[in-house]
Symmetry: C2
Subunit: 226 residues, 2 copies
């Protein structure tokens, strides 16, 4: 279907142009931006709840939570203490795009944000094609999924900078092997940084939050862009 | 983006026409066809491994396993005893479409099949829009995901006839509540049939397999179409 492919290319190049503008805005304001992606049910919202509870209060965090239909995720994150939180209901679309992010970010004061978190729609395929102007894509995978996910959805793992392995408290309840998932992930993307977390027991959350804070500080201190 | 929407409609109506032809072929040959959908990692392949091991040998089963990149799922199912098994590697596409199914089914002898199983790409959004000529969509959800999934991905639950709740051995390891997921599912689709399984302990597999066998027999005995 060449007509479909041509249009897809056009949609993606329009998205890339918008994302590039967003990135410029984020850089000018020294905002560190992550685009959190995963399957539905890997624990993106749970990780964000834990993250907001642990993040140093001095960081000003804005967050948008993408969902196909409900505002459940945004509501959960607000309850966990998020103040600048907005839902994006895609109304059927399987991914966020730069246009949706632009519309959301226009509702925030960008001079008053240190960390901007984008919780993407739960989907390991489509969001990998849409640049949202982020500094990093962070892919979450849980131990109750298969350890071959990086091989099966290589696009997402190739484009991510960090893989967070969540639900490590459930290791041993399935055939999921930590070594295998790491080997598979590094086979796709040799420079992928890997962390392990459990939102239930709290294991690994400090390591993740400290790492995230370091990135925010680095971006704030990035004098070349300030 | 009206241009995109117009093209999407065209793609979907072409798909519907192809699916309608497929359905005719399946009906003429009294083949019961299921389209198994879920998030990545809910256990579609594990359920199919268990199903093939338990199904009465008198049923002739053909199966196609859709995957974005690997043939892992088809390989696993072949090892579990599937004889007529073919992978469909979508090469980046986030769903199977009727054209792919047509191409696959042409490699089988349709006069020699009782049950045709389509394992879709792991994705709760896009596959809901693509009719594959199936008798039923069956949506799998696991207890390690959120119990609000039916509300968050209503399209898929609305179009499915059965919801299989998998990994019930892991109930209690998260905040997932059986009652909630069932209520949420029935809120979206009041006639959704619900079953519970654990591929690890085997719980509920017999109920599922018996139900499936009944559907196959019903379709075989459907004299109006034979």
């Amino acid at each position: 279907m060449p007509e479909k492919i041509t249009l897809e290319k056009k949609v993606l190049s329009e998205n890339d142009a918008l994302a590039s503008n967003l990135r410029k805005t984020f850089d000018e304001n020294n905002i560190f931006v992550i685009n959190l992606v995963s399957s539905p049910g890997s624990g993106k919202t749970s990780l964000l709840e834990k993250t907001l509870a642990k993040l140093d209060e001095k960081f000003r965090v804005a967050l948008v939570a993408g969902d196909v239909q409900t505002e459940n995720d945004a509501d959960r994150i607000k309850k966990a203490g998020g103040t600048m939180v907005r839902p994006i209901v895609t109304g059927g679309s399987c991914h966020l795009d730069a246009r949706m992010i632009k519309k959301s970010i226009d509702q925030f004061d960008v001079t008053n944000i240190d960390l901007f978190i984008i919780e993407n729609v739960g989907n390991l395929v489509c969001p990998s094609s849409y640049d949202l102007g982020e500094d990093m894509k962070i892919v979450l995978i849980s131990t109750t999924e298969g350890d071959d996910k990086p091989l099966k959805y290589p696009g997402m793992f190739r484009k991510s900078s960090v893989m967070v392995i969540n639900k490590i408290d459930l290791l041993g309840f399935s055939e999921f092997e930590l070594k295998k998932v790491k080997d598979n992930a590094h086979q796709i993307n040799g420079s992928l940084e890997i962390m392990e977390t459990s939102c239930r027991t709290g294991e690994g959350i400090d390591v993740w939050v400290n790492w995230l804070q370091e990135q925010v500080i680095k971006k704030k201190n990035n004098s070349s862009k300030s």
